[in-house]
């Protein structure tokens, strides 16, 4: 089973998460052609290469976040850390312990191997 690096819960079993898939901007339904609308509904990139996709951590933090995964090898690249800007949302963490330190500064970045 794949270990998915959740930015909040750390590496978790794939069964704890749901792959939402790549998100694309929604065109204005009043000013679009049937082709554009069909592309928006159905067409996604399917490369044997790095892709950005949305995951939902359904059994853990129950948050949505974006990860970069290689569709050929299933490696994750630069998993985001708490406090990183992920997609359009900004996450903040509550820092515990020593005052003044940056949120997440004392946490080692976790990787699942592969290119960085």
């Amino acid at each position: 089973m794949l270990l998915v690096p959740c930015p909040h819960c750390g590496p978790r079993n794939q069964s704890d998460l749901r792959l939402v898939g790549a998100t694309v901007p929604r065109p204005d339904p009043n000013a679009t052609t049937p082709e554009e609308w069909g592309d928006y509904l159905y067409l996604r990139d399917n490369p044997a290469d790095w892709i950005e996709e949305t995951w939902y951590c359904r059994a853990g933090c129950r948050r949505y976040f974006t990860l970069t995964r290689h569709q050929g090898t299933n490696e994750f690249r630069n998993p985001p850390m708490p406090g990183d800007k992920v997609g359009t949302a900004t996450y903040t963490t509550i820092s515990v312990g020593s005052s003044g330190s940056q949120p997440g500064a004392n946490i080692e970045p976790h990787t699942t191997g592969g290119a960085s």
Partner: protein, 438 residues
């Protein structure tokens, strides 16, 4: 039998398999000629087919047989039948949900029925009946729906109760004890299993015999297109001029994409984007035991289907992995879930051991129906989007694609599966009958 595959002069045409031939070869010790031959790659062909599986080879075979087009090359980056054609669970049936789907797969089933005689090869077709189990009221309702659609189209298909299920497959637990009790089943007597490798070899041999060139280990790196409105002259409005392979450029006015899981990568080379996601589907096989399971058993709710081969092994399959990926690594979670689900159906096989598991790539489309026929690039045709149901459609796809290429018009049977349906909204929703329906 091993002698069939021995190299015996590249120039020999395949011999006809028959009892007198067998007797003669047995008495004289003479070797069988190769099943198909190797050729030098020609600089130009009339038609290039990418992908040497059931679909690609059947297309080549029917082009040569039905339409007399023999200047055809089939290119495969690996070996013939090494992709989905050799990884599926070899189940054939035609009890689909939509009238379009039913008509299409029924034609395929009739071609499978006469295949042994047509191709002069023993494909070991076993018409053993096909049971799709219903574990919930809503599933039972869908079974009734499917049965009525099937009957209307003249397909032998009916809903039966648990007692009849028990008679057909005594090893199934039809009691009310399981978490998902068996409430009934859709019974489809013409369904069955077939030897998938023999189907590939039969089409390859038939195509080769009629002059088609089969080039293995020939990987297509690019499709050459000119005049299109995309980058490099590709894309809509363009015209195919040939392909670039790891063995050099080959020119051809028609390039057909029959590459299943890799379909979107290949069509991208011509500037055609396909609404396909590639998911692996895992399967497994047990050690051989005495024959005890006379039918094919499918359970959509439990995500499992099982049949027993003539050798006695149980072949299991499941639904596709939820992750879109080109990786074909097996996973323990699959084995675990499979074992749990199959024991729910057949508690008696708990001591059987799995021999091996494997995965194949499925090119999933949004509506679980294929994408066949012409694309916005002239000369580039697709026969992809076959998801988890490609093998059973192989013969009819080949026949219809060959007609499409030879006549330059879309045959009626595959017209509903055109790429345009995703912008016109006329999807052919087969998820209810195809998602785990093997």
């Amino acid at each position: 039998m091993a002698g069939i595959f021995r190299r015996n002069g590249a120039g020999d045409a395949p011999a006809r398999y028959s009892a007198p031939q067998l007797a003669r070869k047995g008495l004289t010790g003479e070797e069988w000629p190769r099943v198909w031959r190797d050729h030098e790659i020609k600089p130009a062909y009339d038609v290039i087919i990418i992908g040497g599986g059931v679909h690609g080879l059947a297309t080549a075979y029917y082009l040569a047989t039905n339409h007399g087009i023999t200047n055809v090359a089939v290119l495969d980056k690996g070996y013939l039948g090494g992709g989905g054609s050799g990884r599926n669970t070899a189940i054939v049936r035609s009890n689909y949900l939509t009238p379009e789907g039913v008509a299409f797969y029924d034609r395929s089933l009739s071609l499978y029925n006469s295949m042994a005689a047509d191709l002069n090869i023993n494909v070991m077709f076993s018409e053993r009946g096909h049971l799709t189990l219903a574990h919930t009221d809503s599933a039972l309702r869908t079974m009734h729906w499917r049965a009525e659609v099937n009957k209307l189209q003249g397909i032998d298909s009916s809903v039966i109760d648990p007692d009849e299920v028990k008679k057909l497959a005594p090893s199934l637990d039809v009691s009310t004890h399981p978490r998902y009790p068996i409430l009934g089943a859709l019974y489809h007597p013409p369904g069955g299993i077939i030897r998938h490798d023999a189907v590939v070899w039969g089409y390859a041999r038939g195509a080769d015999h009629r002059g088609v060139h089969l080039h293995q280990k020939t990987e297509v790196l690019d499709i050459l297109v000119e005049g299109g409105d995309g980058p490099g002259g590709k894309g809509a409005g363009g015209k195919v001029t040939g392909v670039r392979t790891n063995k050099g450029d080959i020119s051809a006015p028609i390039v057909v994409n029959c590459t299943a899981g890799w379909g979107s990568l290949i069509s991208n080379m011509a500037g055609v984007k396909l609404p396909i996601n590639t998911h692996p589907l895992e399967a497994a096989v047990t050690e051989p035991v005495k024959v005890f399971l006379p039918t094919v058993v499918v359970s959509g709710s439990l995500h499992v289907y099982v049949s027993q081969t003539d050798r006695g092994e149980l072949v299991f399959g499941a639904s596709v992995d939820p992750l879109a990926t080109y990786s074909m690594r097996g996973s323990l979670s699959f084995t675990e879930e499979l074992a749990g689900h199959i024991l729910e159906l057949m508690p008696g096989i708990s001591k059987m051991r799995l021999l091996r598991q494997w995965a194949g790539l499925c090119d999933m489309t949004p509506d679980y129906s294929p994408i066949m026929g012409f694309t916005p690039v002239e000369g580039h045709l697709t026969d992809v989007g076959w998801g988890t149901y490609g093998f059973k459609a192989g013969p009819v796809s080949g026949e219809q694609m060959a007609e499409c290429i030879a006549t330059n018009t879309t045959p009626k049977l595959i017209a509903p599966f055109a790429l345009e349906r995703f912008s016109t909204g006329q999807l052919v929703g087969e998820k209810g009958a195809a998602a785990v329906g093997h």
